[in-house]
């Protein structure tokens, strides 16, 4: 069980500042997702917590104990890497048992714990195989097995699903969430995929250029984004932004409306435009509309909405679902 606290943590590589100074508290048992575009410093932050990189300033403590200069192995955290990082010359059994062997546990204990982890992850039939004889999903499960077997205080996941195909990714996402429900251990998960963040997290930390843009539960971030960056990053398809006269009439520099908060009509509405490409998904229809002022926005029609390329359509934002932003991009009101 562990609470992880970061106080004014910064990281520089030479003259390049990756993280300028950041405070964050991760509560015991929480599933926290670090999300942001590539190069935002989310993986670096995870590696600082792991101890694989040294901080340039600030402190990291786990359960109130300062761990800033503690080597990775002694922090009691386990990590799952994007490339799985399995030991190619060892069998699945040896891979999962490796942390226990390093901890000097006896063979009987190792065998028992490896068998337990393998059963949890459906790997029992593969224990004597080498990593190269496994599929991507199985490899990732071995990597997770290697992490859970030592009963760590917390798990660190560095984009663990990015090497898997789409269908497998959805499955593994569920498996990891299920694992968190079972173990109730602190988990920190890094991803650039906002769908993973929304579906798995108790708490999302949105990062941009090494700074925390906003911290909150998935729905908090969805309902009350603090600024343009978070508003644009959370939600799929992304929020529409309008500037100029349309924004001015709301007393803002920019206004934002999510595609799902726009009502489409062929007769009347607040904004007029011409339908461009319509994406028919069956459950939803996403229509890309070119407004009279030239801006292109996306609207969601429920179900199989009948619209053709070139149709004139009217869009009306739902009451109270329009976000206003000032010159600096911060939300107003």
């Amino acid at each position: 069980m562990s609470q992880i606290t970061l106080r004014n943590v910064s990281k520089r590589f030479g003259d390049i500042v990756i993280i300028p100074g950041l405070d964050l508290v991760i509560e015991d048992g929480e599933f926290v997702v670090f999300v942001g575009p590539s190069g935002c410093g989310k993986s670096t932050l995870l590696r600082l917590i792991a101890g694989l990189e040294d901080v340039s300033g600030g402190t990291i403590s786990i359960d109130g104990k300062d761990c800033t200069n503690t080597p990775p192995a002694q922090r009691g955290l386990a990590m799952v890497f994007q490339s799985y990082a399995l030991y190619p010359h060892m069998s699945v059994r040896q891979n999962i048992g490796f942390p226990l062997k390093m901890a000097g546990q006896d063979k009987a204990t190792i065998d028992r714990k490896v068998a337990g982890a393998a059963a949890t992850l459906n790997l029992t039939d593969y224990l004597d195989r080498r990593p190269r004889e496994l599929s991507g999903g199985q490899r990732q499960r071995v990597a997770i097995g290697r992490a859970i077997v030592r009963e760590p205080k917390g798990f660190l996941f560095d984009e663990p699903l990015s090497n898997l195909d789409a269908a497998l990714r959805v499955n593994m996402r569920l498996e990891i969430s299920e694992l968190h429900q079972q173990l109730k251990t602190t988990m920190i998960y890094v991803t650039h995929d906002q769908v993973e963040a929304m579906t798995m997290a108790d708490k999302i930390v949105v990062l941009n250029r090494g700074r925390v843009e906003q911290v909150g539960s998935p729905l908090e971030l969805y309902r009350r984004p603090a600024n343009l960056f978070v508003a644009g990053f959370i939600g799929s398809p992304k929020m529409n932004f309008l500037t100029g006269a349309a924004a001015g009439s709301h007393g803002a520099a920019t206004i934002g409306v999510r595609p799902e908060h726009l009502r489409i009509s062929k007769e009347s509405g607040a904004l007029r435009g011409v339908a461009g490409v319509a994406e028919h998904l069956g459950s939803d229809t996403f229509v890309h509309v070119k407004l009279d002022d030239g801006s292109i926005i996306t609207a969601r029609g429920t179900g199989e909405y009948p619209v053709e390329h070139g149709d004139t359509v009217w869009l009306t934002p739902e009451e109270g679902r329009t976000y206003r932003f000032d010159q600096q991009g911060a939300v107003i009101g």
Binding site: L52, P72, A73, M79, S83, A85, F98, M102, R146
Partner: protein
Amino acid sequence: MARAVSTKTKIGWTVVVWAVALVIFFPILYTIITSFKTEQEAIQGFSLIPSGTVENYVTVQTQRDYFKPFMNSVIISVGSTLLGVIIAVPAAWAMAFSPTRRTKDILMWMLSTKMMPAAAVLVPIYLIFLRAGLLDSRIGVTIMLMLVNLPIIVWMLYTYFREIPGEILEASRMDGASLWNELVYVLTPMAIPGIASTLLLNIILAWNEAFWTIQLTTTNAAPLTAFIATFSSPQGLFWAKLSAASTLAIAPILIMGWFSQKQLVRGLTFGAVK
């Protein structure tokens, strides 16, 4: 789609390749043939049919004691290679996994020492060996050949280590492996094919090294290369005996190379194709 090649073209190329291989191998073949001739036959002119005498081999062993330089060659080549690998593993490991801005420069500098003609440093090295009492000693030659081949050993190991993903080493650190355990359980098993071909290649290089061994040894520490050179004596060349000695000198390394050719080719082309 593979290119279609007619049988005629195939046969043509096969003949060409065999011809080229024969030209390259011919000096060695002719040395072996000559070693079975008498001295008389050997100087008479070109002939591919020897009388088949083994007298030269007997002479080489009984009069000049082939076994001693052979043992010197073994000790010097294996010793210098092992010593080199022991020094090079930590060096290559550091450069591969904790590179600095100067790592590339250091590697280039190490390689550049191989571009310098050895004769340029002969006098200073000779004087150092003279003062240190290392002339004609096995330990001196072993150290010298280790130094000569060290850049190649470091380069080869560096290339192999670079192929090992850093995340695997980080994973082992997260799993609680100490530096020692990381080297023993993770890095070394993964690098064994690379270390093996480095060992093989450098034993061959050290075995064949002639410049320094001839300059720095006389009798006690002379390996086979220096031994062969003694056959060109002021009394004239003994072609047949020289050939017998040469055959004996190259035989062990040829046999070793034959059995390990797969490993050697893999080692030399490592990283070139994936």
